[in-house]
Symmetry: C2
Subunit: 273 residues, 2 copies
């Protein structure tokens, strides 16, 4: 396959440069001519929603997604309702920022009953859906790697995400394919195909070996073992031609200057994605 040889679809997820503020990342995008950005709610909150929107628009950037909604399971009905309320605010913010997709990191179980927590996720998405639809925001269910099942999400395979998403129209709900989370899955290509027409995002990074850490072990594309080009090809065959987010948690990358991270990201995106 030919390299992509363009950054037209590159979206810079701002967590990849975690030390930078939102205004600083927007400046880097503009200087590097990266056309898309993915935002995190806590970063938007630091800068302020209106100011974040103004900066992104003035820079001519498009917002591929907002991270993150979700975190549905909780021990009490009151707490679960509070999570829904927070998700509604996330939907509002996504709409204000012009993001089409709110990424859902669905949350861990409040106790040892992981099956019950998975049901809470389904229920929470059902409860949130009418409001999201009324705001024109699609909910993108992102399965997280099984090593995060205890702390971040009980949705750990694309099969689970597809099963939930299929309860809705593709205009309402879909899945987000993050290569780092799903590359190991024996059902990966079957499930990408099953997700045809409802893939709402594609995230790339790499799995580095030896893996130094559960959270901070992601690497820059090309530094690990993931066959990113094969996965991109499958995602495209399933009809997804939208922005491709680079989302990396890695202390070495965080210690680089913003412009250096952007230069490296663009180079690796062209060579390996």
């Amino acid at each position: 396959m030919e390299p992509m040889q363009t950054i037209e679809r590159l979206s810079f997820n701002q967590i990849t440069a975690d030390r930078l503020s939102l205004p600083e990342v927007v400046d880097c995008c503009a200087r590097a001519e990266v056309p898309w950005i993915a935002l995190w709610r806590h970063k938007v909150a630091e800068t302020g929603l209106a100011e974040s929107k103004r900066l992104v628009q003035n820079a001519g950037l498009r917002v591929s997604s907002l991270c993150r909604g979700g975190m549905f399971p909780a021990a009490t009905a009151a707490e679960r309702q509070a999570r829904i309320d927070d998700n509604r605010r996330a939907v509002d913010e996504a709409a204000e920022l012009g993001a089409e997709v709110l990424v859902l990191v669905c949350g861990p179980a409040p106790d040892k009953d992981i099956a019950a927590a998975r049901q809470m996720v389904e229920d929470g998405i059902a409860q949130l859906m009418p409001y999201a639809q009324s705001c024109g925001i699609k909910l993108g269910i992102e399965p997280l790697h099984p090593m995060y099942a205890a702390e971040r999400s009980v949705i750990n395979t694309l099969a689970q995400a597809n099963t939930i998403a299929e309860q809705y129209s593709p205009e309402q709900c879909g899945v987000v394919v993050d290569a780092f989370h799903v590359w190991w899955d024996p059902e990966l290509y079957a499930q990408i195909s099953r997700a045809s027409g409802r893939i709402l995002g594609f995230h790339v990074s790499d799995w580095i070996v030896p893996t130094p850490d559960l959270l901070m072990g992601r690497g820059m594309m090309g530094d690990g073992v993931i066959d990113l080009r094969r996965i991109r090809s499958a995602v495209e065959a399933a009809g997804y031609h939208g922005p491709i987010e680079v989302e990396i948690f890695n202390r070495t990358i965080w210690d680089m200057s913003g412009d250096d991270v952007f230069a490296l990201t663009k180079d690796r995106f062209i060579k390996h994605v």
Copy 2:
């Protein structure tokens, strides 16, 4: 459900006391009246095969399994053959030690083609099977947690292990259910049921939160989020009533004295398994 309230089925996997030699672990088993032991090849090699056998027999211990065969994928045919040769030696050692089961940790991919590596695992098991059968050793395919896909095994779900094992009779090949590796799997209970009659081992530990490390993050039963009793119940409903191995990689536990580890293991086994 009633607690087990007996250690009749407890098998101490010697890696749980990694600082001890095989003779020291055997002594601890005898003092603690633990009836089963699981051995590792590198520990057996340190003490010598004949001496290891003598010690285990003299202590009246039964060997639940030998760890480990596997590691089938490799870049060249010659290297794959060398792995098979090593697996035959592992079968010999298992037979000499009176272990019925050789646990297979199937190995990582030599490159980015994880599907090809999975095929190499199937081919390797097929190649090894006649010899194992002739020695009366069952091959127990242990799926490893997906976070080990890049470094230890491309067999990451019980579904994969079942699919391979079903190509053989239950007298030849089965699966090993290690709670730490499979607790997160949405298909866990369906796949345990599917494995009825061919479960060759059940391993317990716990998943501690926050998870400190990929390899050393296992905890003592009761210290984490795994619903061990529910999994034990499912494994028993699938017909497994053999030894239950406690297998824990954890530096804090490794720093305890042998007798203290055994006391804690027995206590937690009775309370939480």
